[in-house]
Symmetry: C2
Subunit: 359 residues, 2 copies
DNA sequence: AATATTTGCTAAATCCATTTAGCTATCTAT
DNA sequence: ATAGATAGCTAAATGGATTTAGCAAATATT
């Protein structure tokens, strides 16, 4: 690489000091009484040679890297990637670049990631935390580095959190199924103690208890392979023949669940109604289209950036108190959860019988 | 923020020079004859106080930022986000972090992005280029900064490119439809001169010409709103009543096309067969499942990283010659493109008649 | 005319690490 | 006894910016 021009090169060429050039380039010319002519001369020359200040040097001196870091479970997950996309754009408008990384919900991997980004003097963290990184986040807070948790949060760590109304979302989904005449609603979720999962479970339980229905819950281990999840859902359906509706706690659980339902040749919603948590661009194209609890992706992303920028600005000053920003979900009703007119109880049992006769 | 400990603080505490500490920490202790005891002492202390070297200072001095930048059209697109995910992981294994950014296929935005990342002394670029940034890439090459183009490429810029066999992929898709008895196969693509789009068109044309079939092409403008694309496909279907199959050139065109087909109440593949370019996790769940030309996402990502690492390593030495790495596609055959036994020509016309009677 | 103020600019310190060149003390060989 | 080699370490330069403190000349004030 040929050597790049530095501020000193500029200064030398113009027979001024690098201080002057720096003042001009950083809008501090007036307060330092640099004459208009000289300002003009510097700007002209800088433009002419296409000088670009070295941000590394700048950051080293100022202590601001103008870099944020965003840690999500998996940047290829549609939910996280669409949020990332918006966060990237918004942050860029504020002059910030972003390191994206996938935690895989792995505690050790995430600790390593945080270590690396701390070395890089990252100015702020946006994180959907895996369990067990309380200490690392606390360390960041001690160093007065702004941290926002989103999607889920570690309650022990006092940060501003941007989350959705998981409880309300699950509650409204179950309620919707109940209103459409479903009487035994199953809930397929993850074996996870994370806040968002707990809240979704609680929302489900609340609605079930209110109507005095039977609670039917399947918990799938976290890093379960797809086929195994599908098998578990299949068994779950077979073990609970009276179950006439299913609420899936995540996007990918819903996908696996749909595969399982398809493999049992069950009819949606005739034999089993389906609602997913977290909407998907393609749910409307499935047949039947799948009802889902939509998360306000745009709002989440915007809020995350707004909150982080606030923190960065007010850093050093007396910090405003931390708060949980709770955003509403929206139930998108599609065919998969509609009432089935004249539906008999145990429609599925009959279907299974018919299936075995016809096959 | 409380001041972090620097290498000088370490040195002072141990009553040695910072040179010594640096040697020990960078594995250069032996070649500089630092005694074993001192090495041990330094490492112990560093561990004890949890010292983390400032990467900014390190990068400033060494000229290596250990940061890559990956520019794709849209990081929330499933194709790009899954590649990004893998690239992120692989690059991390080599000690590199990545700035991801979305070009939106916008020339000016991309120029601005490149400018910003150059200021940051990024060590290498992975880019799915929008049109019109030949000069910027050339500038990077002049500065001996490694650049890899992928997915598509600007032929004027001599870089190593990782691309898939777009021509072969489209060709095999059409051939597959022909073998299943489809006689008038339409191609829905973008108004785009980019290499990947041109090659897909050429693959389509080649197969059509070989069988002397009628060429039926719909070109949708680039940033067309979804509804408008759907409307265009609807008209395309209505204007070509004898068309019995459709090949879509991209993922999102296929989605819009499926919406259009559904809105016309057409049966797949009875009235119209469908093949998409670029497979999607959900295509197998559509009804019917959608046949697609799958891109080797994992291979693309791996190859991109391997090639970039090679370039970074051999930087300065006589560069190996640039090459196009062409990866094969795979046709995933599903129900949407299967032969329809006893299918009459113009089955769709009849269907449309029946529809209007029954409704 | 002497002093105070303002204008216009710069020297040098600083951020934190790496790296070159070299210094001293000890040991070896003659 | 003396040159030469080696072991063990360090001073100082360097990378490229920002920023504090301050200098010299021009202008204003009394």
């Amino acid at each position: 690489m040929k050597k790049k021009t530095s501020i000193h090169d500029i200064a030398k060429q113009l027979n001024v000091s690098s201080t002057t050039v720096s003042f001009v380039l950083n809008g501090k010319a007036e307060e330092n009484r640099i004459s208009k002519e000289l300002q003009y001369k510097v700007l002209e020359y800088v433009k002419k040679v296409g000088y670009q200040p070295n941000q590394l040097a700048k950051s080293l001196r100022t202590g601001k890297s103008m870099i944020l870091c965003m840690l999500v479970e998996d940047i290829s997950d549609p939910f996280f990637s669409s949020i990332s996309r918006i966060v990237e754009t918004k942050a860029f408008e504020h002059g910030y670049k972003i390191f994206f990384a996938s935690t895989e919900n792995d505690t050790e991997k995430t600790k390593a990631l945080i270590r690396v980004f701390r070395e890089r003097q990252v100015d702020g963290y946006i994180i959907a935390p895996p369990p067990g990184i309380e200490e690392e986040l606390q360390d960041l807070l001690h160093e007065k580095v702004p941290v926002i948790q989103f999607d889920r949060f570690l309650p022990e760590v006092k940060t501003t959190n941007v989350i959705i109304d998981n409880l309300g979302g699950a509650y409204s989904a179950v309620q919707h199924l109940q209103e459409n005449g479903y009487q035994q609603i199953g809930f397929v979720t993850l074996e996870s103690k994370q806040t968002q999962m707990q809240d979704r479970l609680n929302g489900y339980l609340k609605a079930i208890k209110e109507k005095k229905q039977k609670k039917v819950v399947l918990k799938v281990p976290y890093r379960n392979p797809n086929e195994s999840t599908q098998e578990k859902v299949r068994l779950f359906l077979q073990d609970n023949p009276a179950m006439d509706a299913l609420l899936f706690a995540t996007n990918y659980l819903a996908i696996d669940g749909l595969v399982a339902i398809a493999s049992l040749k069950l009819n949606i919603p005739g034999n089993i109604a389906v609602v997913g948590f977290d909407d998907n661009t393609h749910f409307s194209l499935f047949s039947p289209p799948i009802t889902a609890v939509a998360q306000p992706v745009l709002k989440i992303a915007e809020e995350v950036v707004v909150q982080l920028m606030n923190k960065i600005k007010s850093s050093g000053k007396n910090p405003r108190k931390e708060e949980n920003i709770l955003l509403p979900t929206q139930l998108i009703v599609r065919k998969s959860s509609l009432a089935v007119p004249g539906k008999k109880l145990n429609a599925r049992l009959e279907n299974i019988k018919n299936e075995s006769i016809s096959s």
